[in-house]
Symmetry: C2
Subunit: 195 residues, 2 copies
């Protein structure tokens, strides 16, 4: 089934590169966060990779696109810079690069909160596939809500089974069609639960 | 079906980033090759992205792993360096990097031949997925030969339908289980056909 295939390839093609230590030059996601904290003089209250999966499947290039630009009384999220980059030879591509992004959530009151967060890339690609008329006839009958649900369920199971990756990811389902929701606040709530 | 899903996501999640011009900072794969030719003083007889898909699905980190190290009377392939890198904000990852690699094929007689080539990443990832016992129960019943065949067929159709990508890729099926075959020579043969 499509969603589970996506979860498997996201895990083996990406999460295993960015989360665990590779026993050599890359010390793992946790260490990556700590090094960033030391270099930038900031604190990440939750040292996990937040992955935001949306109802529409769409993920904007920059997460700040989710901010309520017409309001300044709610939290907003801004990209800071990349955590350190992982470079590996992968399938003939010399020094293929993998990197996570550090973000800050600015609150109306209180200090900004740092975290590493990104969209669920396989679903963002599926969004583009379904929109492409030359491609999507082949994937007809794909129910978007089913796909998101199955992707999250499969991915959670896969991550929990993996000693190198378990506990290093926080999966967030975000209904981006609901204008009353603010991603920055949804993330703050999850951080509070986990702190 | 799994193979077609992989071909669709490989197209929309990767080939559309590295092959066509983005109308802004990235001038497209062809231009990328020409710039490399000018900077490095070399010639690429075929200015296409060669994608090598293998019978086993496996793609080694570096293509030189395919060379016959015990023979110096046959062609061998060595990585040179990356073509220029494409950086884009994608699904919340700031400046995600995509790059292709320039390779040289050294022949027993004659000058070396330059080309841009890499393994088929979705199949390389599937290889790791099938090998992972925690994951592959879910993908049981997947016939490797079927998957490779369907992936190639779907990908060829998809690329041919795309005005931005058609004619910019050369798909190569390589039986990596046959010790009589030498990838460097298979590539040289394809280059001769296309020149
Ligand atoms: N050769 C090559 N170079 C690349 O830079 C590249 N980027 C993607 N792909 C392949 O294209 C297809 C679509 O990509 P998508 O981003 O939707 O899924 C990707 C994406 O969700 C995630 N992923 C991989 N690399 C990164 C990355 N650098 N940053 C974020 N996510 C990533 O893990 C999935 C599987 O990746 P791969 O199994 O390496 O192959 C992919 C895939 O088959 C690439 N192939």
């Amino acid at each position: 089934n499509y969603a589970m295939g996506m979860a498997c390839s996201y895990f083996e093609g990406y999460l295993v590169h960015v989360l665990p230590s590779d026993g050599a030059r890359f010390f793992g996601f946790l260490e990556n966060i700590r090094a960033y904290e030391d270099n930038q003089g900031v604190v990440f209250p939750v040292k996990k990779l937040f992955i935001v999966v949306t109802k529409s499947l769409y993920s904007p290039p920059a997460l700040k696109d989710y901010n309520k630009s017409d309001r300044n009384d709610v939290a907003r999220i801004e990209a800071c810079s990349a955590l350190s980059t992982i470079q590996k030879d992968v399938a003939g591509v010399k020094d293929r690069t993998y990197k996570n992004t550090a973000y800050k959530i600015y609150r109306p009151t209180g200090r900004p909160v740092c975290l590493s967060v990104e969209g669920g890339t396989p679903l963002a690609t599926l969004f583009r596939v379904l929109r492409n008329r030359d491609l999507s006839e082949e994937l007809e009958g794909l129910d978007r809500e089913e796909v998101v649900k199955d992707f999250l369920t499969s991915l959670r199971k896969i991550i929990d089974k993996s000693p190198e990756c378990r506990g290093k990811c926080e999966l967030i389902y975000f209904d981006d069609t609901d204008r009353n929701l603010n991603l920055a606040d949804v993330l703050l709530d999850r951080i509070r639960e986990l702190e």
